[in-house]
Amino acid sequence: MALTDLTAEQAIAAIGAGQISATDLVTAHLARAERDDWHSFLAIDSEGALARAREIDAMPERPPLAGVPIAIKDALSTRDLPTTAGSKILEGFRPIYTATCVARLEQAGAVVIGKTNMDEFAMGSSCENSAFGPSLNPWDATRVPGGSSGGSASAVAARQVPWSLGSDTGGSIRQPAALCGIVGLKPTYGAVSRYGLIAFASSLDQVGPFARTVRDAALLLQRMVGRDPMDATSLDWPEPIALPNAERLDGVRVGVIEELMGEGIEPGVRAACQAALEHVRALGGTLVPIELPHAHYGLATYYLIAPAECSANLARFDGIRYGHRSADAENLLEHYERTRGEGFGAEVKRRIMLGTFALSAGYYDAYYGQAQRVRTLIIEDFAEAFRQVDVVASPTSPSVAFPLGERTDDPLSMYLSDVCTIPVSLAGLPSISIPCGLSDGLPVGLQLAAPAFGENRLLSVAHALEAAIGFRDRPAGFGE
């Protein structure tokens, strides 16, 4: 088996058994990352990664993650390594510190090989809003990998790394995971420190892993959760994240979200999800239809709350302390206007304007205030559902990977890509997407969500289903 086909768990075992070295593993992945046919990467640190791998190989006792390479979404700060968040306004920027979640993984022995492409400031669902050009879907290079963490998903699907980190505000981990046929996990809001994550919408943003197996995703999450004094919203974590072993689902009640299984969902996607959910019964669990009566307000609610928050968060990009600065402005106002006008792309400007409007005097109550109240109803819908079931399920994305350019002229049609993931995000719940089949030769993702802090239950159900579904397909040209 090629080194790039190993899961992280297999690689750690092989390194532990002395069959391969971290240096071998990092070298093999760097070769695929450097020949980047999918434009997954915005920066690659070959020298640093190899040096670190050799250092780990020389340790008398290897760290738990043993030198397995990882790619990091470019929204996460990495000391001295270019970090742009997919924006011209940060081109060339090198952070002076490393995000806590990345530092924790490095401490545990993961080796960062590079930074992955993304929609500018995580605003988008296709990676086409990257100022540096989109990543491509390894299953079909004429199609999008999803977004916003598109490069983190394509890198794992294309076996440039066994796993990666993304961030998820309204679906930015789960949707690209679904479109690229891999696993993507958004933890409970506050589970992972966001110190060093370039903020988009602070009441929603959360960091999480991409991997090719549920257990690999759990391995990464294990090392990242828990309170960080540098992020006041990070939570004390109640119990360690366990590596899931469950093979059965006896007594587990899975709620099928009725509103997300009907209109607006491609028939092929619906069929693949329904077939996957049949395994719940075969494994001893039950399927329970559930309703989330306010779920269909989710998208509108999100597109008020997220732009409002981003309009405040993105005020920091002023061309004074870091990043792009427009030359020769006559005065401060002109400096701001030109710097931000030149530095931000169209979608970012659209959302800043929308958010500023939603927060403005006279409109605040009708838009932002009203959206926060609808958010309460959506949270209550989930709470009611979890009185009847242990986890809820739906498709992750209403469609399979769509062609490049298909939705770029119509922002609303792009926003609809996240219709299944957004309600879960608004409620702050942990949620995972696992590959569950193909439709027209392209992967379909099944989304599962659990109550807050229910990561262990979620991973356990996802693991049992993953094994039963037995998704073995690979993009064409990827062996086996």
């Binding site: 870091y322 792009h324 600065r325 005065n331 400096h335 009203q370 609303l412 719940l429």
Partner: protein, 68 residues
């Protein structure tokens, strides 16, 4: 851009159709009390490092265009 913003506003307008007088707005999905820490002085970022990424530095500070 103007047309796109109008279309988006028209779409998000659907939140207005709900009567939500008594519903408490959510600011934070996971309940969280205020978080405090002791106010202890500790070393901070050295000035040189803080200025490293600045597009323009003047006399040990960030250069800012004149106000008016």
């Amino acid at each position: 851009m103007q047309d796109e913003l109008s279309a988006i506003l028209e779409y998000v307008d659907q939140v207005q159709e709900l009567d939500l007088g008594a519903v408490v707005p959510t600011t934070h999905a996971i309940p969280l009390e205020n978080v405090f820490r002791d106010d202890v002085p500790k070393p901070s970022v050295p000035a040189e490092l803080a200025l490293r990424e600045a597009p323009e530095v003047l006399a040990g500070g960030f250069a800012v265009p004149r106000m008016g």
